[in-house]
């Protein structure tokens, strides 16, 4: 039995030298068959397992992870959560995720450290202000919170921003979403893992899926480094490795893999209490709860599975930071890292059946799939349990690339992933 965490439990363990904690999830040996196999133990896969159990009572489920939980992009991202998209389909998806995030710590009995400190996207010209107004209007019509900020409004949110009249990217105003913010990424993976495990889901780490078992044109299981495991349904939640797994299943996807990098500085005193993104530099940053400045930007210019990030983009991100916050020139950068992200032509995820029957897709999240983990998991679980789309996931089906009903958020909201 999973013990519930509580203030009293924490106090008691404090008195007994923290000797009474137990592992948050089991380390089971894989069974020969399950109802559902989920490939990939990132946030999307773990959330799918949790909602299969919680919403549909399906608990004979295995999550198969080649490394360790959250060791992919879920543990490597910059933790920004928001729903400031343009198209109604996108806002329905990302705002659903945000709403689920708002209740998640309580629901999972696990502190995901959600901090709704707001996100400001800064514009640098009259033309960009018109685009900002268009996005604010779209967000409001789609039923999420958005506000158009003046130059003064932006400066009030982040007083250290470069206010010089000589600035290469002057502040004209921006888009504000107050419910947006950040959460602790590992905690999201761990919270879902613990709750899924408690419901009976087997989480199998250090187990790589090497191929698929196909009978009569249907996927009926996977070949793994720990042997064959069979199931009625298999879901692929492997982010940047979707192309690799799709090739093993005999099809191709509209996906290319790129490295996406981020950096953190040494911790400093509180100086920034919101998330800031410049349309001009493509750099975004915020201050972590520990005081570090967390900085991210665009994807690398070279298709890649190298989990390290390339120097020209690193330089662009850091010069963007200095343009935005000249005083941050004094910061010492501590770490830089990268994840492999799956980039789709219209910058929207793919949720739905794959060309191989019995195999479902949850991929194509690109640079933005952390904010959507609760919704992606919920919708993928729905697809598996009901055998058909939820209204929110239907527009994100793979068939949109043939029908032309793309949800092009790069053009709509300027989100480039």
């Amino acid at each position: 039995m999973t013990k519930r965490y509580s203030a009293f439990g924490l106090f008691r363990e404090g008195l007994r030298g923290h000797s009474g904690w137990q592992p948050a999830w089991r380390t089971p040996t894989p069974k020969a068959r399950y109802d559902v196999i989920i490939v990939g133990g990132g946030g999307q896969g773990l959330a799918t397992a949790y909602y299969l159990a919680k919403n549909h009572g399906i608990t004979n489920v295995a999550v198969i992870e080649k490394g360790w939980l959250g060791g992919g992009n879920t543990g490597r991202n910059t933790t920004t959560i928001r729903s400031n998209y343009f198209y109604p389909e996108s806002v329905a998806l990302y705002d659903f995720a945000l709403k689920l995030y708002e209740g998640l710590s309580r629901e999972l009995n696990y502190n995901i450290m959600l901090s709704q400190r707001g996100v400001v996207t800064v514009s640098h010209s009259d033309a960009e202000m018109e685009i900002a107004a268009r996005i604010v209007n779209a967000m409001q019509i789609n039923g999420t919170d958005a506000e158009l900020l003046s130059r003064e409004g932006v400066i009030e949110k982040a007083p250290l921003l470069n206010q010089s009249p000589e600035a290469r990217y002057p502040i004209f105003g921006g888009v504000w979403q107050g419910r947006a913010g950040v959460a602790r990424h590992d905690a999201v993976a761990w919270g879902y893992a613990r709750a899924a495990d408690a419901a009976g889901v087997d989480i199998i780490q250090n187990c790589e899926v090497a191929g698929f078992i196909v009978e009569n044109g249907r996927c009926v299981g996977v070949e793994t480094s720990q042997g064959a495991i069979r199931a009625d349904h298999t879901a692929l939640c492997v982010a940047g490795h979707s192309g690799v797994l799709a090739a093993k299943a005999g099809f191709q996807l509209p996906i290319r893999s790129y490295s996406l990098q981020a950096m953190v500085s040494e911790p400093v005193k509180p100086c920034l209490d919101t998330v800031v993104l410049y349309l001009g530099t493509g750099t975004y940053l915020f201050q972590s709860d520990k005081g570090e400045i967390v900085v991210g930007g665009g994807i690398d210019r070279v298709p890649s599975y190298a989990q390290r990030g390339n120097p020209p983009v690193q330089q662009a991100i850091l010069s963007g930071m200095l343009e935005m916050f000249p005083s941050f020139g004094q910061l010492k950068m501590l770490r830089q890292w990268a994840g492999v992200v799956d980039v789709v032509p219209d910058s929207s995820p793919i949720i739905g059946p794959s060309p191989l029957a019995g195999l479902l897709l949850n991929c194509g999240w690109g640079t933005g799939g952390f904010k959507s983990i609760p919704a992606g998991g919920w919708l993928t679980a729905h697809l598996i349990a009901k055998g058909e789309h939820h209204d929110i996931s239907r527009p994100f089906d793979l068939e949109r690339f043939a029908t032309g009903r793309l949800i092009d958020e790069a053009a709509g909201s300027g989100i480039a992933h």
Partner: protein, 88 residues
């Protein structure tokens, strides 16, 4: 910074180059007989290989497209050939 070899200009800084597409794709013809699925396959689906690959790149400085053989994990470049005369 990585140095990429342009077959026309020689070794140059990676920032001068733009990735175009995977090599080996043939445009389906004639247009009126091409199904939506085949057209979408041509336009957007990829092999997206982990490891050795052949790709079409543009050297922005001289404006030439060429085929580069590369490894997507190590980033090692093993070949660089003009795209003219087929083979892309």
């Amino acid at each position: 910074m990585q140095i990429f070899p342009c077959p026309f200009c020689g070794p140059r800084d990676e920032t001068e180059f733009t990735f175009a597409t995977e090599a080996g794709k043939t445009r389906p013809e004639p247009a009126k007989d091409v199904s939506a699925e085949a057209w979408s396959d041509y336009l957007v689906t990829n092999v997206n290989p982990r490891g050795a690959t052949r790709e079409v790149w543009l050297h922005q400085t001289c404006g030439e497209f060429f085929v580069m053989e590369r490894d997507t994990v190590t980033h090692a470049v093993t070949g660089s050939n003009a795209a003219r005369g087929g083979g892309a």
